[in-house]
């Protein structure tokens, strides 16, 4: 197996959520999302009620993966920032470290300049926390699940 699972503990989850909340306010954004490069939603903040956040996470990761593929074709390491402009809403997507994607959805209440400015600061803070998360994950791995029994797994599929 080539990589350890991403493990998010309560403490770090609170920290990254706090940063998303702060970014949501500072950037005057509609919503802020943190997505794993594999398409798992890690945290979100703002007006997320009407959004299909699972689909958003998966499509964002697909988008980043495709853009990364394009970058490689051109001999670039990556395109760290993407911006999609809509009639009302806009999406700003950026890479944090090598593993996490920060997504900001904003409308006319904000501007691309403000979003970029605030994202830069948040990215630095997030990168530090994800260093810790990565470190913790490689120390503990998923061995914490070793208490799961075969019966537990069978029961999950027991009802057909």
């Amino acid at each position: 197996m080539s990589s350890t699972p991403m493990v998010l503990f309560e403490e770090e989850f609170k920290q990254i959520t706090a940063i998303c909340d702060q970014l949501h306010r500072d950037a005057a954004a509609k919503a802020v999302f943190l997505v794993d490069k594999n398409g798992q939603l890690l945290a979100n903040s703002g007006e997320t009620g009407d959004l299909d956040t699972t689909s958003l996470a998966s499509l964002t990761a697909g988008n980043i993966a495709a853009t990364g593929g394009l970058a490689q074709l051109l001999g670039e390491k990556e395109f760290a920032i993407q911006f999609h402009e809509g009639e009302k809403d806009n999406i700003h997507i950026s890479l944090v470290g090598q593993r996490v994607i920060l997504v900001i959805i904003f409308d006319e209440r904000s501007s691309l300049g403000l979003v970029r400015l605030r994202v830069r600061k948040a990215c630095l803070e997030l990168a530090t926390i994800f260093e810790v998360i990565h470190q913790k994950a490689s120390e503990t791995g998923s061995t914490v699940f070793s208490e799961i029994t075969d019966d537990d797994i069978d029961n999950l599929f027991g009802d057909g």
């Binding site: 699940f145 799961i148 797994i153």
Partner: protein, 195 residues
């Protein structure tokens, strides 16, 4: 690569359906989507061409229930089967936890099956995975067709490592959930082992 969230008490895993073009990967997901309770599934996304061929991927999030207080979620993806979409297939394999190879039972698709299987191994290797070390099951689809080849013949060529395998007719759902359960179970066992 699975994702474990202790805060929301969730385990998320990624399963990829692989196989040659028109073997029935998308049909598998469509059947699962149609037969799953609304509260256990999210929206199914299909990024397809105008002729309904998969262009990038299909995506279906599924909840399977709880293990020791942790919600288990599986994200099911298909790859585009057509040969020239290889760059996209590689991307979708990133972070995979389990693989289903969907083979087309029709005699004239045997070459396509073998080519796709070889392509799966190669692409996994590029991402640092070894198919023989991953949770992996095989599905022989389209068993209802008159030109379906003998099962023993398929097993011999498609499943030389004798991983769990299933006969299926994805359009009517035969074998679809058996396949899914088998791979999901292997993924959880792998997680329990702590790799």
């Amino acid at each position: 690569m699975s994702f474990i969230n202790y805060s929301s008490r969730e385990i998320n895993c990624k399963i990829v359906y692989y196989g040659p073009g028109l073997c029935g990967k998308t049909t598998n997901l469509q059947y699962i989507y149609a037969k799953t309770n609304p509260e256990a599934k999210g929206k199914m996304i299909s990024l397809e061409t105008e002729t309904e061929r998969t262009l990038f991927f299909d995506f279906l999030p599924l909840s399977l229930g709880e293990i020791r207080g942790f919600k288990t979620r599986f994200h099911l993806y298909t790859v585009p089967g057509q040969v020239f979409y290889d760059a996209s297939r590689k991307l979708i394999l990133k972070g995979v936890d389990g693989v289903v190879f969907v083979a087309d039972s029709q005699a004239e698709r045997m070459d396509a099956n073998l080519e796709s299987l070889e392509n799966l191994r190669t692409n996994l290797k590029e991402q640092g995975y070894d198919l023989d070390a991953l949770p992996y099951v095989v599905q022989y689809n389209k068993r209802d067709l008159p030109n379906a080849v003998d099962l023993d013949y398929l097993k011999q060529y498609i499943n030389p490592t004798t991983v769990p395998d299933f006969e299926a007719v994805a359009t009517t759902g035969v074998g679809v959930f058996d396949t899914l359960k088998a791979v999901a179970k292997q993924v959880l066992i792998e997680l329990k082992r702590g790799r």
